[in-house]
Symmetry: C2
Subunit: 434 residues, 2 copies
């Protein structure tokens, strides 16, 4: 299981940490399905015999983070003794291990564990290369990128040749886009104003602050109570004006029929998109909703389990915005497949972020998409939530409502050691004090 | 979290066991995707303060069974102090816990953990009632059955009223079917002859034995090598004759295009069904394959994660046989939803079994379906694999190729204490001896 790779160094250590932040105490992050999340990371650190390290994590919202951490720990035999020279091969080995695969396949706790480890391997690889991940990926050749992708179950929608062509089309103009990205950054939108747990005054104040800070879109949580939604959207429209992009997010609250009825009742507020109207597993349901609320666009993805479901959402014309998550599918490799699928179908990718550390991760994927895949920032925007960034050694930087391109080597995934210690569950001081 | 229920007894204990059988040593269970499974159970025992117990398990194929066992253990706070009077409510509480839900939702390791606990609760309830589970369920009223189901995300295909009508239609003739079931049992089919790891002589011998034993269908694993498949199907047809139902099972090996091409190349053998042609997540892929290989029927389900994906497979006309699994979706409750969906769409349910203990469980679900839901055994058959039954206290009984209806109280889920001890991983004697 630990066949040595080609490099002259080896991964020699793997540590895991169950890290939880007591965010439910402030109702930060409250929505129609998740009233009291404690943002958590099942966190992993890989170390090499020549002094490098790589950091990764699965994001959860509290209970069960111990199970998620144990699942990551179960992957230790697959990485000890290995290097990061062939992350296409190592990723496929993890995903296709037949015994582990039975626990999914390619979904849920075991898939998120693979995601955390794969992302930590990419963090390590980027640190070794002395580059931020987005640039490391953007500077790889189209052939190398295609070699990272698992095309199994995709060939009816995207073949390796088609993927190669998408990447080659972007090849000649990459340098210009890197330069523009370094100057302009990447547009962000603000979710912080719209949590369900906030009262109208706080909503009004936070919407105004988001406008003042230059964000180009604001998102409101909806779906718990229609009268509340109408009142809160009225407040937000008063602050933002009639034409500002205001999106709404139901966090899977509805069935197909109730989604169509509820969104229709909010149509006068002209939502920029409606996010997660129903179960992330319901491809046909999303397609029926998209048809039923046209022209209001449907967005989804933060809970979509893998590239196979994204493929179908695209095939069915069920979504207008694809919201990949950095830590749910099988890490960087599977997200490259998802970016390529989105490019093939011409659907803009607007990553899910927030939680703890997700902003730090997804910025790299969106920037890689801009430079080397879709080649566009048009109608694209990365979610931004102003929480918990202080716990990271290379936190995101937002200026005038845009993500600045990271320049430090790695995937921006490293948490401060003292943050890990203080928030370790249940023994850390944040939890013992409570 | 442990609000007391209505009963006068309480669940006071929960133990878990990581139990693994070294089946890979004999190539039992080998197929195109799973070359070396070690059939395993993440096993749970609940005990009450008045001396009853309930047994349940998740089935895995080896590595990761520790993670699965830990996930079951994480549910202890939800059941300690409870009773089994309202298993509709308790099931929904487990599935809808917002923090645990984030780890799925409703899929993978955490969902299988919920399945194991829910099934153990049903085993306990049936033991208390002194009835086998199939009869306990069959004797509940249509209203009580509907109260066990979570209709969230189903209402575009099945409403509570429609479910009630299906159950009421079967109500008046239940007693006659119970009597017939007690006399005739339920038809079985044989998978044991067709594992990929067996040579042609063993295949020939086992096919003849299955015929001699009275099984009405035999299934062969396919998908690793087309020439091998043609040779093995030729052998099987020689033994079984041209009209005997021979089904084939690819265990998710193909993409859409390769499935259509491969099955077409085997069409001359007239497969009774082709099982798991591609990813269990690919609803649209299954629909395209069904269209492309018509009139050969498609069967799937053992890896389908929940009722929402089954709903879509039915809506899309993607499958002709629905193969529910007792231990992957959210236990008895979610399987009742799946039986009702299948009845609504007129698709026969032919449960997946084999592994360890799955035959013991699914017989109850198929028999409940016959008595109280679909009302039919026509074109229906339960998978049977002749492995590991000796480890159970109430093993399935097969006579003339049919499952005898169990009569002992419970869900037939209890493993002998000495089997658990000997096969506990890694400390049990079966593993330390190796």
């Amino acid at each position: 299981m630990t066949a040595p790779g080609a490099g002259a160094y080896r991964i020699v250590g793997m540590r895991t940490h169950d890290v939880r932040f007591p965010t439910s105490r402030e109702l930060d992050g409250s929505d129609a399905m998740n009233p009291d999340p404690d943002y958590s990371a099942a966190y992993v650190v890989l170390t090499t015999d020549d002094g490098f390290d790589g950091h990764g994590f699965a994001f959860t919202i509290g209970r069960g983070n111990d199970v998620q951490t144990a699942a990551i720990g179960a992957l230790e035999p697959y990485v000890i003794g290995r290097d990061v020279e062939d992350l296409g091969g190592l990723y496929k080995e993890l995903v296709h291990d037949s015994q582990l695969r039975w626990l999914g396949p390619e979904k849920g706790v075991m898939h998120m564990a693979i995601s955390a480890v794969v992302n930590a391997l990419w963090d390590l690889k980027a640190r070794r290369a002395g580059k931020p991940l987005w640039r490391l990926l953007a500077e790889m050749s189209p052939e190398e990128i295609v070699g990272l992708v698992d095309f199994r179950y995709l060939s009816d929608a995207l073949t390796p040749d088609q993927a190669l062509q998408i990447l080659k089309n972007a090849e000649s103009s990459k340098e210009a886009r890197i330069n523009r990205l370094m100057v302009d950054g990447y547009p962000a939108y603000a979710t912080s104003p719209g949590w369900l747990g906030y009262d109208d005054d706080k909503l009004r104040r936070l919407c105004q602050e988001a406008l003042d800070q230059g964000f180009g879109q604001i998102k409101l949580k909806v779906g718990a109570d229609l009268a509340d939604d109408i009142r809160r959207l009225t407040v937000a429209r008063e602050v933002c004006g009639p034409d500002f992009p205001l999106s709404i997010d139901a966090n899977q609250r509805w069935d197909v029929g109730s989604a169509i009825a509820w969104v229709s009742a909010l149509a006068e507020f002209r939502p920029h998109w409606v996010e997660e109207p129903t179960s992330p597993d319901d491809v046909l349901g999303h397609a029926a909703i998209a048809e039923g609320i046209r022209p209001i666009p449907v967005a989804t993805g933060e809970h979509v389990q893998n590239r196979i479901v994204f493929k179908q959402l695209l095939q069915a014309g069920a979504l207008s915005y694809l919201q990949l998550d950095a830590a749910r599918v099988g890490g960087v490799n599977e997200n490259i497949a998802i970016l390529l699928l989105a490019a093939k179908f011409g659907v803009p990718v607007c990553p899910h972020a927030g939680g703890v550390g997700l902003c730090e991760l997804v910025q790299h994927l969106a920037m890689f998409d801009y430079v080397a895949v879709s080649g566009s920032m048009d109608d694209r925007v990365i979610e931004y939530v102003d929480h918990l960034h202080e716990h990271f050694t290379d936190p995101v930087v937002i200026e005038h409502g845009r993500y600045r391109a990271p320049t430090a080597p790695g995937f921006s995934a490293e948490m401060h050691a003292e943050s890990i210690t203080a928030h370790t569950y249940p023994g850390g001081e944040v939890w013992t004090r409570a």
